[in-house]
């Protein structure tokens, strides 16, 4: 089962002449927790948006489960089992937490959708806020609801955009636990963050971006001791 | 002593009379939906002033069938749907005896349908569209001049002066399209060619391209269905481009603004008109005088529309001897009458107005003179219009 679920092949992207990504290659192994770290402006978000289909690469291609999705729309990619969260929470503010989840559910059965939503909220230990409005949630609650909403799509791959940024360590640990559980269920977790502690302790595989270039990758121990990483980060 | 007694008796009678009279004669209530707000408000104002002046004068003459006249007026907001609703209200809630139309074809159209449904007489004093009358209604009588009356003078003038080609340059608005249609219909079959037929959008102030076309195609008659400001611009630009067709006629010429703003350039221009204060029709002098005394301005054609609507109703009630709907209706189907707008007569089947004719006026020495029809002429026409350097 250790095959590749998301493959990024030689992807480059420029914005008005400035290089955002320069021939980046990434393999995300099925069932792994894979992280991408890099300082601000290193091209993490661009990479994410290209995988999620909201941006198109200039060159290179992206494969999901062996299928070329380079020119697919965001909705199509989502349909292939790739669900995402957003760096800055994009919950539907005038809908309750439950409604935020139910709105994106697939399938025809309302009851099944609600049952799944409640199950996920319970799994993430936030069932008590099911009927709170999206607009009234705390920062951390939003992060969790974003994850729950992505899980509603019963994805094969979760793309998490900075799930740990700005979250207190206790909650960070909780999120990590949840991600571990998801992994155990066979869901691949692919996230970007600059929270070194989590990335360097919890990931199966780490990619390091700097100025649009991949400067290192490997397991946490390899990356932790990589000279270029140390230079870029410490 | 006797003198004192007479005086006392006179005072007592005078004091009691209105009360006694009031008991005996309940007022005749006439419903009107009037556009007090909205885009028709400016035109509806004088229309109601004309109506109200008539009411005053008619009441002084003893009212309708000996009963004083009272108006029940609501604001239809220049909206046809509101007009329909209000005539329902006037007829079913207020139980008015009869109704006058609002001013404007759309509101008169919807209001008249309600009057017809309830078999209540409507004097259509403000709805100019022929179509209002062509629905076979039995209780709606048009006293307003038809829209096509504007074109009445075009054919005789064209014939008299051997007009062979015409230009039609008009602002794009509903009435202009209707009048234009009427003009083309009345000219069809005659040896007249339409060489320019153009509509320009509201807000246009530059007519040089149309004038250049005119210089090239040389139409004998230039017809403009224009607001006064556009008529003013047209003659000014005629002058600056040193162009003058043999005949230039526009409805905007008949508005007061035209002469005051265009000044010398206004001279000789022809105007389509429905009513002029100078019109030598029966009772017009008196109407203009009393109107001016009461409101401080000369009546325009909307005021005349209102006044004539009342005049016709009063004559019909007088002839019928009562305000009984069926009796008055019977009289109205054939009533012929001289009014301040000329003649009143309705078509025997549609009750469409056929008595009132459009007028042609010409600006002469800073005044509008009626030059057509012959019977109302106030001056001889000075035609064709001389070129700018021949004045």
């Amino acid at each position: 089962m250790s095959d590749t679920i998301v493959a990024v092949e030689k992807v480059s992207k420029r914005f008005a002449g400035r290089i955002a990504l320069d021939s980046v290659d990434i393999d995300v192994t099925r069932g792994s927790i894979t992280g991408v770290i890099g300082p601000n402006g290193s091209g993490k978000s661009t990479l994410f948006n290209i995988i999620a289909g909201t941006l198109r690469p200039d060159t290179g291609r992206v494969l999901v489960d062996g299928r070329n999705i380079t020119s697919a729309s965001a909705a199509e990619i989502c349909g292939l089992g790739v669900a995402r969260t957003f760096q800055i929470s994009r919950l539907f503010a005038e809908m309750t937490v439950l409604e935020n989840l139910v709105a994106v559910a697939r399938g025809r059965d309302d009851r099944a959708a609600i049952a799944l939503a409640m199950e996920l909220l319970e799994f993430l230990e936030i069932a008590d806020i099911a009927d709170r409005w999206g607009a009234e949630l705390s920062y951390g609650q939003r992060k969790l609801v974003e994850i729950a909403r992505a899980l509603m799509l019963q994805p094969k791959v979760m793309l998490l955009d900075e799930p740990f940024a700005g979250v207190n360590p206790r909650l960070q640990n909780r999120i990590v636990e949840h991600l571990r559980t998801l992994c155990a269920k066979g869901i691949t977790v692919f996230f970007i963050d600059h929270e070194m502690r989590i990335v360097l302790n919890e990931c199966d595989l780490v990619y390091v971006l700097a100025e649009g270039r991949l400067i290192a990758h490997g397991d946490t121990a390899t990356v932790r001791n990589d000279a270029r990483v140390l230079q870029a980060y410490f | 002593m006797i003198w004192r007694f007479v005086l006392a008796a006179a005072v007592t009678v005078a004091a009691l009379a209105p009360a006694a009279f009031g008991n005996a004669a309940e007022p005749v209530r006439i419903g009107v939906a009037l556009s007090q707000t909205g885009n028709l408000a400016d035109s509806a104002g004088p229309y109601f002033k004309g109506l109200d002046l008539w009411r005053e004068q008619a009441n002084a003459r003893g009212g309708l069938a000996g009963r004083p006249i009272e108006f029940v007026v609501y604001d239809d907001r220049s909206d046809p749907a509101t007009a329909a609703r209000l005539y329902e209200k006037l007829i079913t809630n207020d139980k008015v005896n009869l109704v006058m139309s609002s001013l404007g074809s759309a509101t008169a159209a919807t209001g008249s349908a309600v009057a017809e449904k309830h078999k209540v007489i409507m004097i259509n004093g403000g709805g100019a569209a022929e179509a209002i009358q062509q629905r076979g209604f039995k209780y709606v009588f048009q006293t307003a001049a038809r829209i096509s009356s504007y074109a009445d003078g075009i054919v005789p003038i064209s014939g008299k002066y051997h007009v062979k080609s015409i230009a039609l340059v008009s602002r794009d608005y509903a009435a202009a399209r209707d009048i234009s249609k009427a003009i083309k219909e009345s000219l069809s079959g005659k040896d007249v060619k339409v060489v320019i037929d153009e509509y320009f959008p509201a807000g246009t102030a530059d007519f040089s391209s149309q004038i250049a076309k005119g210089q090239q195609l040389q139409p004998d008659l230039w017809i403009g269905l224009l607001y006064p400001s556009e008529a003013i611009e047209t003659v000014r630009q005629f002058h600056s481009m040193n162009y003058m067709p043999k005949f230039f006629i526009a409805n905007g010429v008949s508005q007061e603004d035209f002469i005051t703003s265009a000044g010398k350039d206004a001279e000789y221009a022809l105007g389509m008109s429905l009513y002029e204060p100078s019109l030598p029709s029966g009772g017009n002098k008196e109407f203009v005088k009393t109107y001016r005394d009461k409101y401080g301005v000369d009546p325009g054609y909307y005021a005349a529309f209102g006044f004539v609507a009342g005049t016709v109703l009063e004559a019909a009630v007088k002839k019928a001897g009562s305000i009984d709907t069926e009796k008055v209706r019977e009289v109205l189907t054939t009533l012929k009458l001289g009014t301040v707008m000329g003649k009143h007569e309705v078509d025997p089947t549609t009750y469409m107005q056929i008595g009132v004719r459009g007028l042609v006026v010409q600006v002469q020495n800073g005044k509008r003179e009626v030059i057509w029809p012959e019977e109302y002429k106030t001056a001889e026409p000075k035609l064709p219009i001389p070129a700018w350097d021949k004045r």
């Binding site: 999620a52 289909g53 909201t54 965001a74 909705a75 990619i77 989502c78 995402r84 957003f86 994009r90 539907f92 005038e94 809908m95 409604e99 139910v102 709105a103 994106v104 559910a105 309302d110 009851r111 959708a113 609600i114 049952a115 409640m118 319970e122 999206g134 909403r149 992505a150 799509l153 | 007090q36 707000t37 604001d75 907001r77 909206d79 046809p80 749907a81 609703r85 329902e88 209200k89 007829i91 079913t92 809630n93 074809s105 759309a106 159209a109 349908a113 309600v114 449904k117 309830h118 569209a129 022929e130 179509a131 209002i132 629905r135 794009d172 509903a174 399209r177 209707d178 249609k181 509509y199």
Partner: protein, 325 residues
Amino acid sequence: MNRMKKVNSLGVAGVAGVAALVLPFIGSDYTVSFSIQLLIFLVLAYSWNWIGGYAGYTHFGQVGFFGIGAYVGSLLNFHLGVPWYFAAIIAGLAGALTAIPLGGAMLRLKGPFFAIGMFGLTRVLEAFALGFDSVTGGGTGIYLKPVSDLRPVYYVVAAVAGVMLFLTWKLDNSRLGLKLLAIREDEDAAESLGIPTTRLKIGTFVASAIAPAAMGSLYAVYLGFIDPPTAFAPNIELTTIAMVLLGGMGTVLGPLCGAVVLSVVNELLWANYPQIYLASVGVIILLAVLFMPRGIVSLGMKTGWVTVSRPLFRRLAARHGEALS
């Protein structure tokens, strides 16, 4: 806690339905006439609420469909003698047929561009009705044989209004409604979470064009007359939007509240103060938008008099919670 006091959508609908049914028997012709106009606006408000309130695509072009319907219905009735109720159905279909390509083209625009673009389109339609006078009668308009009794028209319009209320209630309690709200809240996020935004937008736009076109046709029947300024009146558009704003956008009872309040206030104010009614209505709407940005209905929800939106999901969630504990 005070459950009995709460105004329930279905309860309101029931009371309104009974009132609507008996009104023609107890009211005068004027009442019926007034009610027809109110109900037509109610239908327009509910239709606009779908695309403008739920999907968040506010626009100023609904009266365009109203006008198309008015002309399609009138021409069928006038030239071919099609009965008015049947003409109204065809008019509704014509509205939908026009909306399909229009939605595909116009819904690429967002926010004010879409709103104003639709307004412009309506003005083009009006100019077309004016200019194409060999068919439409141009500025003269079309004169129909007036109906001798308003009651059948009233019942048809009332039935459509009832259906619109019911469908909106269904929508409000369905996932489709939530998906539309998601588009309103954040279209890009909705798209990347797999909600088929384009299809839903166009579908909603088309659905929201049907009833207005049918109403346009019935309006012409009711008036016995239609001309371009009447069929495409900007006033109809603005009044409709004002009703939804006042009542509460994207709610089940909002359009009903807004239409009833605004119509009645209009009628009372205008009867007593014709010169200032426009200004007064303007001030009322302004105050409403400033102090009740979510409309009368949301004020009712806050004070607990009206059940909050989308009760079904709340109920199901609560039941689920109870079952677990």
